[in-house]
Symmetry: C2
Subunit: 370 residues, 2 copies
């Protein structure tokens, strides 16, 4: 009983770890069945299949039923409670229904594990983009001279929420193995975001310091890292965390004398990460000339010989182009009905060198019993 990102990602992740996962939808599918991106017919597969839905529902069986009917509700209950000793698990972002509440299911199977995903802490609706707006990140993202807010593109809170969900299900299953005890778990997308923002210090700073974090554009906070433009318009992200990284960056850009003169004149010590961050604009201006005078290929060639952390900015097309993923151990060919044949990633963790993969997403309703 899952839709959109977080709840389906939980099911997919558990499927990658070997679980038998069934996604239950109303007849015709949930609100995400035609969610963009859709196939555009470019590769001969039919246009209009949701790449989003099929991507998030790989390796699951699909059952549809009339969730408003007593028969449909009873079917869902039986699927949860009669699913064997390792089963008895319900994950849903469509909670608040008595017929599939923890209490109802626990009356039928005392060791049931339920996980209800909600938006706001108070159970109010909320999605990644509203949660993120409320939390501070869009206020400090993007060019510092940009007056507006900048939303993230990656639904990072949905992703974190889906991973927390798969973690707490796994932890609850282990506890049940040991004690026989079920679990009633609730996870709010807003709480995921608040917890991470607290742990990373963003919500601690305004409580203990004079103010919270301000924007630093593309500069990495508290160390030396930023992006440069090359002579052919390429962009390169550079991160110099350690003194060695920084020394190599100074060497390669031929700025050793200028940097030393700056240290003297400003009475700062660039062996300190903090000093490198505080003086970053001046340092960046010094380094930028070298990048602007070399092509992307020359820059990459030169950086390769150093300890500096760097990466050319690429588009998604760049990443997928030239069969670059075909030799990648994380990717396997997937034949997804309605989408075509492409390389799809498995579980990022490798167990004894092996990534776990699932099959494609089942077509909606394929596993519904006649």
């Amino acid at each position: 009983m899952s839709s959109f990102v977080a709840s389906p990602l939980c099911g997919l992740t558990l499927a990658q770890l070997g679980a038998d996962v069934i996604r239950v939808d109303p007849i015709g599918g949930a609100a995400d069945i035609k969610r963009w991106p859709l196939t555009d017919g470019h590769n001969g597969a039919p246009a209009g299949t949701s790449i989003y839905w099929t991507g998030l529902n790989k390796g699951k069986r699909s059952v549809t039923t009339d969730l408003k009917s007593a028969e449909g509700q009873s079917l869902v209950q039986r699927m949860v409670v009669e699913s064997g000793p390792g089963g008895g698990i319900l994950v849903t972002n469509a909670g608040g229904r008595d017929w599939m509440s923890h209490a109802t299911l626990a009356a039928l199977r005392p060791d049931v594990i339920t996980l209800e995903l909600v938006g706001g802490t108070d159970g109010s609706p909320g999605v990644d983009y509203t949660v993120n707006a409320g939390l501070g990140f869009p206020m400090i993202t993007g060019p510092t001279q940009h007056a507006g807010v900048v939303n993230h593109v990656l639904p990072a809170w949905d992703v974190a929420c889906g991973l927390y969900a798969s973690l707490v299900i796994t932890a609850a299953v282990r506890r049940r193995d040991q004690t026989g005890q079920g679990a009633r778990i609730r996870l709010a997308l807003e709480d995921v975001a608040l917890s991470i923002a607290s742990t990373l210090g963003y919500l601690t700073e305004p409580q203990v310091n004079s103010h919270g974090r301000r924007g630093t554009g593309n500069d990495v906070y508290g160390t030396y890292g930023t992006d440069f433009v090359t002579s052919d318009g390429g962009r390169i992200m550079i991160v110099a965390l350690t003194q060695r990284h920084f020394g190599d960056l100074v060497d390669i850009t031929g700025t050793a004398e200028a940097v030393a003169a700056l240290e003297n004149a400003l009475k700062v010590d660039f062996s300190s990460e903090a000093a490198r961050f505080i003086q970053r604009d001046t340092l960046t201006a010094l380094f930028a000339r070298w990048f602007a005078e070399h092509t992307t290929a020359e820059v990459e060639q030169a950086l390769k010989t150093t300890s500096v952390l760097y990466q050319r900015y690429r588009t998604f097309d760049d990443v997928a182009a030239g069969g670059g993923l075909s030799a990648h151990p994380l990717f396997e060919t997937l034949e997804q009905p309605g989408v075509g044949t492409f390389l799809a990633a498995g579980m990022p963790a490798a167990f004894d060198g092996e990534h776990y993969f699932t099959g494609p997403a089942e077509e909606l309703g394929s596993s519904t019993s006649p």
Copy 2:
């Protein structure tokens, strides 16, 4: 043996779930011991304590030792292999050392579980910002007229990597409970990012469609959602996923006639999510007038009565201001030596209504045996 974000977040998350976690560092601390943000002395606590380090290492014991000495290495080995039946777990982002390799530890304890976190798939160094640059997201983030790239501020891949790490450790522990088998796990930050980008379709689009995702600024892709400015300069994120949300937005902005006229003239049907996305610029221009003519308070008051998903953009200071977190069940008062007393979040998932909390971070080296 963890530093920076991903590996320490794994340990913190397992500590929140009840694990006894010991962070081992070289004498004097790892490279992240003074990582910004630091306390600024504003609240009477000493200036210069890392809010970052203490935040990520809550609830762990801290042991320091000379990792280059045989004694130090032997101590770490013994801590892993002699840690009781539920122990025998090593998580590290400082792998590649023979004395703490999986093979070495498995020779001492066959059921040991090791997790090595690396940067690039090939084991090359890589951090969140370089991985992200290589993957496509900064190319499509930020205002569409902005020529440059926009880095995310939240280290989303580090966070996802830390959560995957805690998941696979938990899954490996459960397997060991059942089979007695240990596990050698490897997790690359780059693979985390590639896997999520694949699952969400970003790496599938360029393989099966005519091109990969293009930027849409603050507009949510494939549906109707964007940000508006109010008469007093507030900013509000609006998401209208369903026809009902959209109808309410049209009603509240008093644009029903204009929207209907547009539907007729353009021969589109706004009951389709896709049509709302395709025509979003025109719709946004229509709706924007109502937002510009009302204060933030008026806008929030009006939206409250509708189904529309909305959220005012806030700063981190706004979130922490006015004691708003003190009544929040996810937050508890934490006394963190060196930082002061503040509200810190626990595990976002609630088990039977209860969030799990840890104590503060131990001072570096506090649990080192004399």
